[in-house]
């Protein structure tokens, strides 16, 4: 357990070693929430969606957490593959490396979500703050899973970043309250989290079924990320 905690703290320190990276992780969600708050309702109307007012602002906080977490998840895998394998071979073991990596990723996801949530709270106010925070965190966790999955298949930083951005934009544009299109939009990864977030922004609770769905999606994303980290760190037979 000690090795996992130590590894997780080191991975966190590695990611935040550049002070500017930490500054960006705080500034970008805050700026995104403030800038998008005034326009998301209008944008949704243009797409034939129905989300407006505080619900639209809340959705912006979820998106801010999602796109940063996606990039974060991708770089956690792509930039650490070789180092993690050496750590595992040196005695830490692939499972402990994976748990330490996932702990660091979740800690960063909580940081991004907290900044987005606090900005939302201060700029627009939220009637159901606990619901809103959990929904924003689910956005982040879901995209950590997506980012790590992309990182496991795509090794190039440019290609991986573009793939994460592509998934995010399709997800965001087709989400609830935006174009509201059927078919593929129903299968988008943050659809249920967006439902919960929109409800929280509008001052309403969400049905139990939605909470079960977002819980399962978050668990699935974390399991996916953990499996990806484990596969990356696992020593290869020669």
């Amino acid at each position: 357990m000690n090795a996992i905690a130590l590894g997780g703290a080191d991975f966190l320190r590695e990611h935040l070693r550049a002070r500017l990276t930490l500054a960006l992780l705080v500034a970008i969600p805050a700026l995104f929430v403030v800038a998008s708050a005034s326009v998301l309702g209008e944008f949704a109307t243009a797409l034939g969606g129905s989300v407006s007012g505080d619900s639209a602002s809340a959705l912006g906080a979820g998106w801010a957490a999602a796109f940063l977490a996606g990039a974060l998840g991708f770089f956690q895998v792509s930039s650490s593959r070789e180092a993690d394998r050496r750590l595992a071979l040196a005695g830490m073991g692939a499972a402990r490396v994976a748990v330490a990596r996932i702990s660091a990723s979740v800690a960063l996801g909580v940081l991004i979500s907290a900044v987005a949530f606090l900005t939302l709270l201060l700029s627009a106010g939220v009637t159901h703050p606990a619901h809103a925070f959990v929904a924003i965190l689910i956005f982040a966790l879901t995209y950590i899973g997506i980012g790590t999955l992309v990182g496991s298949f795509v090794s190039g930083a440019l290609e991986g970043s573009l793939t994460v951005a592509f998934i995010f934009l399709i997800d965001a544009f087709s989400g609830p309250g935006m174009s509201d299109s059927g078919g593929i939009a129903q299968a988008m990864p943050t659809r249920k989290a967006a439902d919960v977030l929109i409800d929280a922004g509008a001052g309403q609770g969400s049905p139990v079924g939605d909470w079960i769905a977002v819980g399962l999606i978050a668990l699935g994303a974390l399991a996916l990320a953990a499996a990806t980290f484990w596969l990356s760190a696992r020593p290869r037979s020669t």
């Binding site: 550049a18 500017l20 243009a46 797409l47 796109f67 770089f75 930039s79 934009l169 399709i170």
Partner: protein
């Protein structure tokens, strides 16, 4: 151009051609982003202000389609600029140690960045014409090209100053917020607010909006602003790369 520089340029392009996924993404993403934007946007009426001050009634669908071109080009060029310069900072110092001048090492990187921008721009314009034809092609193309080049150079600087990961965070955010929100005639009163004129996307976006919706050219001021950004950023990137590669 001497033989060493042309060899380096050839090798730079060969390196990119060995990345089939990158080529697929640079061709497919503009197509998907722009055609998807046209498909999902309602043709609601929208009053916008053109650079000459003229008010024009158009539709949200046309504006969204037109504005998705610089968002897409700026976003993709920004990420290309970021990672191309990161790659230069990691490996081109060896070329300089082996006898190349910093200029001979920098030119191939910039050539790759500009070429990627042109490819994305060409695909974006081709896709746009399926649903929307600008009133004046010249300013529309020029505005989009300027947006791509400016954001390519911003990506290059971001990579040098905040690193690969910080640069990626920044380039995910900046083109979307600048061109997609601050300069976007879909929002506010149909023209950029005062604070938006200080952002790099202001000049290119006003030029292309003029081209998209007007047959006369009234965006001389924004064009000059865009060119100033382009020259300033080009100088900054070249100085930075020369210093990083050991030049004087």
């Amino acid at each position: 151009m001497n033989g060493r520089a042309s060899t380096a340029i050839r090798m730079g392009f060969r390196e990119q051609l060995r990345r089939p996924l990158l080529l697929v993404l640079l061709l497919a993403l503009p197509f998907l982003f722009i055609s998807w934007s046209f498909a999902i946007t309602e043709p609601n009426p929208r009053l916008i202000t053109l650079p000459g001050g003229e008010l024009l009634l158009t539709t949200m669908r046309d504006i969204h389609g037109a504005i998705m071109v610089p968002i897409t080009v700026g976003f993709l060029a920004g990420l290309v600029g970021l990672f191309v310069v990161q790659s230069a900072l990691e490996s081109d110092r060896r070329l300089v140690l082996a006898g190349y001048s910093p200029g001979e090492a920098i030119v191939p990187r910039l050539a790759v960045m500009v070429s990627a921008t042109l490819v994305v721009l060409a695909v974006s314009l081709a896709v746009t014409t399926i649903d929307f034809v600008p009133d004046s092609w010249g300013p529309f193309v020029a505005g989009n090209l300027l947006a791509g080049l400016i954001y390519g150079l911003i990506g290059a600087l971001a990579g040098a100053f905040v690193g690969r990961i910080g640069g990626a965070y920044l380039m995910f955010f900046l083109p979307m917020m600048d061109i997609g929100v601050a300069q976007n005639p879909m929002f506010f009163d149909g023209s950029p607010q005062g604070w938006a004129t200080a952002l790099p996307g202001y000049g290119p976006t006003r030029v292309l909006v003029d081209g998209a919706f007007s047959q006369s050219f009234d965006a001389v001021g924004p064009l000059a602003v865009a060119l100033l950004w382009l020259v300033g950023l080009s100088v900054a990137v070249i100085v930075l790369l020369r210093r990083s590669l050991g030049g004087r």
